[in-house]
Symmetry: C3
Subunit: 154 residues, 3 copies
């Protein structure tokens, strides 16, 4: 039972990471419920309770807009991400909701091949079951040093 | 059966990592049995059979002392860790003991936001079941280059 | 059922990584079927469909040759790897074959203790079940910047 759920959440996180790493940004909104919320924040602001997300989007329509502007603006240098997700903990809060936390690292690869540790932090997720869709995904980044290239979702 | 155990050990490692990453150092001794041993060593010394741990503590009382001195001395610059744990292998050696190995990476984030790959290595664990407590946790670090800031448990 | 298989593939990947990280290169060919294929490629060439692997070996005999020349040539500076494997997704394609994808990071530790993020990328695997042996393992590296030391299998 718990095993099934753990496996299901792991698989959801993995499909999400794979979509971003494969530049399938158009699939990204479909990992969320219709009104799903996505937020990138810094650990510092989260701790201080400051309501200053680096990025906030609510609902699939807004997530799709975000992808569309990324595709059209196209201001950023071509780059690739590689996600590592680990230290997953889940908790069932009701028949239809699971919350989960997980650590992540993201490596960024620029077009010339230069590779760097780009971001680390925690995913704080609220997942609707059995659909396995994010009602909320909060990406808490450890560092407040944000690269201005921060445009692709994490 | 094996699945349950694998899941249990994964969850133990994840709770441990989360406690350290969330600066809940006071919870750290409770992951060990009453007489549990904790040791940080370098791969080089382990291979040569040199009994020179970077850090050694035995028993919850000593682990608590360690946390207390960290809190009071407070000589280190504020920093945050982010653990990644992977490549887990477990083996049941008796009804009450499981041994496990796992790879880890630790990213360190300084107060100014600077992020670096701080440590990599292997956890060699002896876990009491079904309590899921470490009888022994040996942290074998790949590099012998140890930062003098090495104060927070890994 | 799926859980058993997921666990089995995870365990295979973990044993493989552990063998390489422990410098047990002689065990490496035994993770493959008799005619198993191993290939290291770059993401760039894979996308362009260019048949230019960085390394290619087919069959255990060839894999053993590769290990033997590594051991005898011994031109490289002593180094250690540390693998992190994450974001695993599996799919059963027949009763005897599972395909899987997973993300990896490899940290390299030189003899003087210097540590660096060495490679990141994706494993694309074709695994024979229930033997749990690689029929094919393709290592797609994110960066085309390949260190000339690239000699140890990934």
């Amino acid at each position: 039972m718990d095993l099934e759920l753990q496996f299901g959440v792991e698989r959801l996180h993995a499909r999400y990471a794979q979509a971003l790493d494969s530049d399938k940004l158009e699939d990204w909104p479909d990992f969320f419920t219709e009104g799903g919320r996505y937020r990138i924040a810094t650990a510092e602001n989260e701790e201080r309770g400051l309501p200053l997300p680096v990025l906030y989007a609510e609902g699939r329509a807004m997530l799709r807009d975000r992808v569309a502007s990324l595709r059209h603006a196209n201001i950023y240098e071509p780059q690739r991400y590689r996600h590592i997700v680990s230290v997953l903990l889940i908790e069932k809060v009701s028949d239809s909701v699971v919350v989960s936390t997980a650590n992540f690292l993201v490596v960024r690869i620029m077009q010339d091949g230069a590779t760097m540790l780009f971001a680390s932090g925690r995913y704080l997720d609220r997942i609707r079951v059995p659909d396995m869709l994010y009602e909320e995904r909060v990406v808490v980044c450890d560092s407040r040093r944000f690269d201005t290239l921060l445009a692709i979702p994490l």
